[in-house]
Subunit: 278 residues, 4 copies
Amino acid sequence: MQTSIMRIDCPDQKGIIHAVTGILLNHEFNITQNGEFVDRESMHFFMRTEFAGNSDPLYMHAQLKKLLPEKAHIEILKERKKNIVIMATKESHCLGDLLIRNAFGEINAEIKAVVSNYEKLKNLVEGFGLPFHYTPHDAHSRQQHENIISEIIDNYQPDYIVLAKYMRVLTSSFVSKYKNRLINIHHSFLPAFTGSNPYLQAYQRGVKIIGATAHFVTDLLDEGPIITQDAIHIDHTYGPEEMKQAGRDVEKVVLARALKLVFEDRVFINTNKTIIFE
Amino acid sequence: MQTSIMRIDCPDQKGIIHAVTGILLNHEFNITQNGEFVDRESMHFFMRTEFAGNSDPLYMHAQLKKLLPEKAHIEILKERKKNIVIMATKESHCLGDLLIRNAFGEINAEIKAVVSNYEKLKNLVEGFGLPFHYTPHDAHSRQQHENIISEIIDNYQPDYIVLAKYMRVLTSSFVSKYKNRLINIHHSFLPAFTGSNPYLQAYQRGVKIIGATAHFVTDLLDEGPIITQDAIHIDHTYGPEEMKQAGRDVEKVVLARALKLVFEDRVFINTNKTIIFE
Amino acid sequence: MQTSIMRIDCPDQKGIIHAVTGILLNHEFNITQNGEFVDRESMHFFMRTEFAGNSDPLYMHAQLKKLLPEKAHIEILKERKKNIVIMATKESHCLGDLLIRNAFGEINAEIKAVVSNYEKLKNLVEGFGLPFHYTPHDAHSRQQHENIISEIIDNYQPDYIVLAKYMRVLTSSFVSKYKNRLINIHHSFLPAFTGSNPYLQAYQRGVKIIGATAHFVTDLLDEGPIITQDAIHIDHTYGPEEMKQAGRDVEKVVLARALKLVFEDRVFINTNKTIIFE
Amino acid sequence: MQTSIMRIDCPDQKGIIHAVTGILLNHEFNITQNGEFVDRESMHFFMRTEFAGNSDPLYMHAQLKKLLPEKAHIEILKERKKNIVIMATKESHCLGDLLIRNAFGEINAEIKAVVSNYEKLKNLVEGFGLPFHYTPHDAHSRQQHENIISEIIDNYQPDYIVLAKYMRVLTSSFVSKYKNRLINIHHSFLPAFTGSNPYLQAYQRGVKIIGATAHFVTDLLDEGPIITQDAIHIDHTYGPEEMKQAGRDVEKVVLARALKLVFEDRVFINTNKTIIFE
């Protein structure tokens, strides 16, 4: 049977769960998973419900609209694979990991294409039978380069764009265009070591753990809502290169974990934070 | 305002959440936290709801009874510190940790007394102004010894009995008497290394991680429902003694974490497993 | 400059480090990394030394032989990529991960070929331009099947054979033939959940952590010397399938970590344990 | 038999290990543990050797002096419990943990006294039979307050001063006076969230891991050489208070681990980093 997902967020008030579950009951839908959360600061309510049954999204939406506060966001989604485009530069570990998962149906998404400002990963991508768009940046202004990329992306109409170690800063206008649809992996446990070469920064500071952070991209570099993070132990024998190597395994696992959560519609963006119903 | 906790489990059927939240709404209670889970194997439903408001437990219980399946277990609890008795042997780390937390209100429980078959921990316990019951086992049969302990425990009418490295096997009758109220910390990641001296077993096997498991005690040694577990990395330089030392920090943190969850009424026992609403 | 690795193990006695470093000094080799360990139980000494310089292995070996106890094992190795053959069945995550690392020079080895009793992974392997040997097992006795595999393997003269989720039990004679050269990834934190379907076992036991173990293969199933292990947290919402999915990320990282250590000649086998100089 | 520890650091050159182990061999000392490291950036050599035997430190020192580069630092230490004074403010978890370990001989140190600017922890400390010095800061300038504390500390001639959640910034002159002898626990994974109230900062940033850092104190707040760090996973349900609670368990374990390493003379300070021979 079809699995559907209902996502609601609105100012908190009494009786929301009762009202919402009443509508599901009227449709005779069986709830298979349910999560709610109230942000104490903003008194905003978030709810994600998985239910078995073939809903008429429009009708259900209308019914919910009537019962919920005026400002409520309501989404009724059928469970489906998300379409994604991946942007990469030269590093193979995150991209390669996603390609393997994609090829064997383990990522809840379909990679439509890969865009890169270098040719290094072409063979890898094409070996998986996927389009690889080589978009060098040297001959273009930043704006022009992004326009080229944007045009490619838009051809595929992706749900999300994944920055799998895409090493160029994006402009405001690019970020705005794909608001809440750009997911990046940063190779440090943010907010430590923002910007470039975090492993060198980590080496210089003499830290004993290194990590990675998957986050939505916003205008402010490395400041977007964090989805997942992890860290591993290192010691004084690690130079920047050893950190980089060890860090790759954290990066790819953290990114894949974040994508799984996003692609299963489990993640809400709450201003600069995320709420995740696992 | 008073916080109350509603705990329900029953065979799954449509409309339970709607029904239950309806009753809370009628009472004008505000739900502050809510968790549900359906065990796919047994199709059994579990729900834990925290709500603000001074409920009349009996009346609410009666209302829920009417709406829920006949076999439903229903609990309406006021949030309160649990009373506990701790059983220990010679090791200080878990007991000491609980005593510190108890002294500074960080464990959601009140330690009423400590029972031990050795005198070694007497000063520690009495230094915190708590009763220490020295109950040596040498002169007694196992049954007699447990009767003495049981009598002491019953004087304090504890909600739970915590085995903070109590190193003697308990009889069936003792375990039955305190069914679902006995919590043990085992110094391995179960089911590996059951029985005695798990660190020596771990050393002999040459493992690269060691761990700890907090679980409810049942008749079958080290087979009870697991509440929390954790593991840490070790290497070949660790002998059994070094493992023991390093393991202590895992044990005490794993036990404290389990107790917090149990004392906040977050843990359901589902035959030989636990369901935990964090 | 060439990096060489000296590996010594022998019964412990005073003066070994002094003697060995004296020989290195006479050759004017610069020690870049050095590790020693004495197993307290067996009073056996282990030493791994990395040094810069182009040694004449035979001459150095002869010199060391004179100074060390008669039973000493001595190896003088030039740092080089190891040749490996991978055996797999149907699962793509460990194999895929190794293929990516191999393609981008991140595994300190060269994959010569992949052998599998199913065809499922053929495209993946050939997409990387590597030979894939499909060796179905149905029409053959276990012995015959292994002979076929063995012949394929021997053509490539690999240093190591990696079982990247090869799901068939190997016979004693196969294991003996490749003694200390077979590395397996087992999908549990051994010694818990040996044998088949460890995630189902883990589900049934209701554990709160799952893990993976990379180990050398010996006659006794899942009893070989452990190289690396790791574990991650799960909760009651994980069925066997969710455990399997989450476990894959641990498996591939644990296997890759073990291989890196083995391929850099950092691992000694000490009866049923490993000693690892990281 | 007495265990001794030799600690050497000097500009790297060929033959150091050979020379040093030669001296140990002449004395017929048996090396039980040995670690070396060369910092590639500064080409500085570090060595820590544990050996069984009753050395004459002065004589051995003189012999080493002759063989090692002029600028070498040489320490020959007998293994012994370190004397420490603890500074605390109001939080009990780190202090309590150290008191328990101290009482049962599990910290390789002897706590001589506790100094605090609040009275809250007096009973706890005195319950363990240890002196508690209440040194309120309100009536004094920062300088005066530190003079009072310094005088108390100096009476006990401690090897190290442990800041177990001491919540006041120390002046340069205090830090200089106890150079390399002040160890602090900071409640974040540095360099993230320096300064005050890191958990609130972490909450506002919406991180998914929180951590703790034990480090030597230097003039620059939260910039001293890091000894140990760890991190744990959290989610959106954690407010600042829940982070604080969960963080306590990381803090106390991270601090205790750092202290064990320092008290066993395993830690070298290498400008703003540490080198640790575990």
